[in-house]
Symmetry: C2
Subunit: 339 residues, 2 copies
């Protein structure tokens, strides 16, 4: 089955993406290693401030490279499409971003990533760099709440980058930045729906598929099985099913204030995201939950996958202030700018 | 053929999109008319400043509603998917945005839109509102350069909104804002490639298709025929073919400074846009053309269409300053923020 992708040699997709990013925004990011897959802020390392390092597989832009910038993460290493970068690459980014105040690792909870980041953390420790780790694990359908440590990280990690990034920017110490990241991750829940598969370029054909007219609730961003395959429901029904699972999971209750993210997995049109948001915001209002700020667009994609996810982050006063703080990335919508 | 769309009743897509937008960003935009399809800036009308009104069919977000905001357009009216709003709706938006200094119409060159905007312009004139018009007509493949007035407007109209919007914001008069818009449009050229069709929700099936593994160079954003259908080329070949047609058309020459926009038509992944940009920036460098600023992402879509376009805007000193001026829309990337 031929691909619908504008690429060159499939084996060059990852490197040529990084090349294009560096060409597009000179000065915003810089390479720091020989592999070419590690990028840090143009002004990093920043002496005396906690750095945030992230990473994971390619194919999810703006994750992960788009989350590097002032008020966000400090550096990133990306692997091949849907594959972890190596422990050595993680160590390199750790050393490149360290400004003497320690490094927070913030990334999604996938076994390849955790293995490599954990090894990097041990190696960094031997080199005298203090590291703490926070794992994005917001996908409610990936494990029961009693086994939350097994859950996968999806688009909700956005709240982690925004909130922990602001905490680092204002000069909190490593424990403080880690606490902010943990608060963001702990209070965030997401659920997605896939209407199509996606194709790893080097494989040349879809690793998983969803037939037109069908949907898979809870499918992961790498095609991990969801909770239910069935006929495509309406936007209102999908928003309802997602919030039926998300709201009781934390739980989110009347009187709570939340940030809401409606994310396109790639091919889903902005119009559809707003239709989904319209219903979600009604349901939240009916439950007495107030939306402090909404984020709508592409925040964590799976290349040309059709589908969307909804994430909620319950906010206290400190998290609200950090979410509203200025931040900058040329990959993120003005909604992040804090205006 | 079943749709891959997250919607409710297909006849409600347009209204529910607007509802979702208003719910997502309270205060940013407000409705001003009974149809519900007309939106103006939260602070409009702005007394003493030239207003910019735009409009067109739904299905192209961030066009057109996403281009309303400080430093951009002042108001908008949208029709059904791929259909013009009526002359009456255009007149309503004209009256709603008028701050006494006149109104610039800035929209894409399509017959339904021009007919209705022209009628609205005449009616506005009778009500004592001065109107001037600038038409986006950047698509090089839609007519020969000798018949440039027949060309369609595509993603390059972004430069018109950004440059004319900044001119209005800094208080230029109607002639001055019109001149800025004309300069932007005159100096902008675009070309697109489609790798799939898209489906009008109310129709339920694709109005046009591109087979997987094929591409249509120059296909319009409503499926207007392009210049060539053939096997899908590589990203480098596509960038080369696009610039081979774009560069001689103005022409863009050694020593010129340009803004570059690489736009996704909907389903094409960000990674692919950066690969395209990487090659385009190389070609420009080889030709001695310097890129002042790059814009990469979704700026004018066709719902879930797979494909991309490249636009160039040749900049003089005044246009450069206007392009870099602050602007805000929650639909547009931080690249627009002028940082």
């Amino acid at each position: 089955m031929p691909m619908r992708k504008i690429i060159n040699d499939p084996s060059l997709v990852e490197d040529q993406t990084v090349d294009g990013i560096l060409a597009a925004f000179p000065g915003h990011l810089k390479r720091f290693d020989a592999t070419g897959r590690g990028l840090i802020r143009g002004d990093a390392p920043i002496q005396g401030k906690v750095a945030i390092a992230t990473g994971g597989g390619s194919g999810h832009l703006p994750l992960f490279m788009g989350y590097v910038g002032p008020g966000l993460a400090t550096g990133v290493s990306v692997g091949n499409v849907f594959s972890s970068p190596s422990a050595e690459e993680m160590l390199e980014v750790t050393k490149a971003v360290d400004g003497g105040a320690g490094v927070l690792y913030l990334y999604g909870n996938y076994s390849g990533d955790t293995m490599n980041f954990d090894m990097a953390s041990e190696m960094a420790d031997m080199e005298g760099i203090a590291v703490k780790t926070t794992l994005g694990r917001d996908d409610v359908t990936s494990a029961p709440v009693a086994e939350i440590e097994r859950r996968r990280g999806v688009a909700g990690i956005f709240f982690g980058f925004k909130i922990a990034g602001a905490a680092a920017e204002e000069g909190r110490d490593l424990d403080g930045v880690h606490a902010a990241a943990e608060a963001a991750v702990f209070n965030t829940r997401s659920m997605g729906v896939a209407l199509s598969g996606t194709t790893i370029p080097a494989a040349g054909e879809p690793g998983f598929t969803v037939e037109a007219g069908q949907m898979e609730l809870g499918m992961g961003i790498h095609g991990e099985p969801g909770v239910e395959v069935g006929p495509l429901l309406t936007a209102d029904e999908i928003a309802g099913q997602m919030l039926d699972r998300i709201l009781p999971d934390l739980p989110y209750s009347s009187g709570d204030s939340v940030g809401v993210l409606v994310n396109s997995l790639g091919a889903t049109a902005p119009e559809e995201l707003y239709i989904l948001y319209g219903k979600a915001s009604q349901i939240l209002k009916d439950r007495g939950i107030s939306v402090h700020r909404a984020f709508i667009g592409e925040y964590a994609t799976s290349m040309e996958m059709s589908g969307a996810s909804i994430s909620l982050c319950k906010l206290d006063d400190d998290m609200t202030r950090l979410l509203d703080a200025p931040a900058y990335s040329p990959f993120l919508l003005q909604q992040v700018g804090g205006r």
